[in-house]
Amino acid sequence: MVPMQHAIEINGLRKAYGDMEAVRGISFTVAPGEVFCLLGPNGAGKTTTTEILEGYRARSAGDVRVLGHDPEQGERALRERVGIVLQEAAAQAELTVAEVLTMYGRYYPRRRPPAELLELVGLEGRADDRVKLLSGGQKRRLDLALALVGDPDLLFLDEPTTGFDPSARRHAWSTIKDLCALGKTVFLTTHFMDEAQALADRVAVMVEGRIVALGTPEEIGGRDVAPTEISFVLPDGTALADLPDLDGARVSEPAPGRALIVSTEAVRSAHALTGWALERNHELRGFAVSQPSLEDVYLRLTAREPEEAVR
């Protein structure tokens, strides 16, 4: 057997629908055991890309390898090793949860017992209920169980927690993290920043068919080297002009009475500000020091023209 370098390998992938080019030449690789997240606004080409990887769509150009196979060939050997959670897909409504898991299990050479799957997704106690009686969130959990029934090496999750309440989302995240601990490769799409932040080893931001940034959630879009933001409420009777000299930091008042300092030397700036406040006996309400959030970076990246983007 040839040693496998990448779980997913994409090189110059393009997909056109008529005149419209949904995917405009993207390249990236996903390592085995990695959680890779494709993040982007609606219409960015995320689902098209994912469905090409899943084997549902044919590409217009470029090379694609999934677990060493070309997904376009629809080989059974590949489908046996891949689990897919689609955005929206029903299961057999008249069968019970346990029957559906057993039925799908028969398709795979390697399979997990239904009881174990139900425990993993938190559907214990619903084994004998018909699928049509499950709530929306429970159906999503069944989707995940069905994607895992063949004990896949690679799992595709297309917006897996859309429509979940916060506690169900936390539960789904911990399930996905458990899967990573088992060495599964996960390819995830989402438009929730916190989801990408919580789960992904690496994030690719896709805008208008192109990857505009790629990196870990901590460093993506230059987040790790971006200036720090310090903000607080200006004490009564003081204005921006009263603040101490902050030596090159950018000072502004984004809302009346609220100060925002953007500094590349955060410790020095914070020290100067707090010293100034103590001296005058001011309380700096809402004092906060923060890096730009993933969401800030994402909004900046997706608002720009792709050509200008930070790589």
Binding site: L95, Y108, P109
Partner: protein, 275 residues
């Protein structure tokens, strides 16, 4: 059925690749489809119960009636093969077209395509299941006809009836699958299916004999498989027919429709399962 849950615990059963495993998989698909079919009471009534109910209803309404144009045979002797043909068309065509349209729209077909189950095995599972329903319906009708209406099927005609039921089932299942392409959404499925089937049933000699109809209407009806299936069964059941129970030309036209249906259905499968 406890057998299912038991085999589920055996981690590496037959499923891997080989054709023997796939045949077993198909058999399991038939079993699951059967289970789902009978659990959906509305659908089971519509496609299994209603043709039988129509047999009892029309049979009782015309219990003493005879049909002069057909050599004075009892009405029920004429009606039973026709309603059996109609039942097969309903079970196969409407069930397949409506059921697959729902499964397409809900994403179930897309989910199935993402699994290692071969597409043909999924389709074979559905066709096998609906054909089983048609066969059971035929047996029930024969028993009811024999017990209540004195309808007899001569032993030599039984193979012809079996072949007609199986070929008709396959043909209308394939055509139902092909029809999914022209059904825009699941809600429209029963309407589209009935618009195609109901008028054809009226010109195909199912409800009453076509003896008074003009030739062009006969010719038109004979292009389509509904009249052909009905005719196969009429010939086999005809008490005045002492010759061959087989109707070769009708079987041939049914077979041609089967090939057309399968070709169209295969095109459907590629396109619609990725939707």
């Amino acid at each position: 059925m406890s057998a299912m849950s038991q085999t589920a615990e055996r981690p590496q059963a037959a499923a891997r690749g080989g054709s023997g495993g796939d045949v077993a998989l198909t058999a399991w698909q038939v079993a699951y489809e059967q289970r789902a079919f009978w659990r959906n009471r509305t659908r089971a009534f519509f496609s299994f119960g209603m043709p039988i109910m129509l047999l009892l209803l029309f049979g009782s309404l015309n219990s003493g009636g005879r049909i002069a144009e057909l050599g004075n045979i009892p009405y029920v002797t004429f009606f039973l093969p026709g309603i059996l043909a109609y039942g097969i068309v309903i079970t196969q065509f409407i069930n397949m077209a409506g059921g697959l349209a729902i499964q397409r729209d809900s994403g179930l077909l897309k989910r199935m395509r993402g699994t290692p189950l071969p597409g043909w095995a999924y389709v074979a599972g559905r066709v096998g299941s609906t054909t089983a329903v048609s066969v059971v319906m035929g047996v029930v009708m024969l028993i009811l006809g024999r017990v209540f209406y004195d309808v007899h099927l001569r032993a030599e005609a039984i193979p012809a009836v079996v072949v007609a039921v199986l070929l008709g089932s396959a043909t209308f299942a394939a055509l139902g699958m092909a029809a999914v392409s022209i059904i825009p959404n699941a809600e429209a499925a029963p309407v589209v299916a009935n618009v195609l089937i109901l008028p054809l049933s009226f010109i195909s000699g199912i409800w009453y004999p076509m003896t008074g109809a003009p030739q062009w209407l006969h010719d038109l009806a004979n292009v389509f498989p509904v009249a052909r299936l009905a005719n196969c069964l009429h010939v086999a059941f005809d008490p005045l027919n002492h010759g061959s129970a087989w109707s070769g030309s009708d079987l041939l036209v049914l077979a041609i429709w089967l090939v057309v249906g399968v070709r169209l259905a295969m095109r459907f499968w590629q396109k619609e399962t990725a939707r």
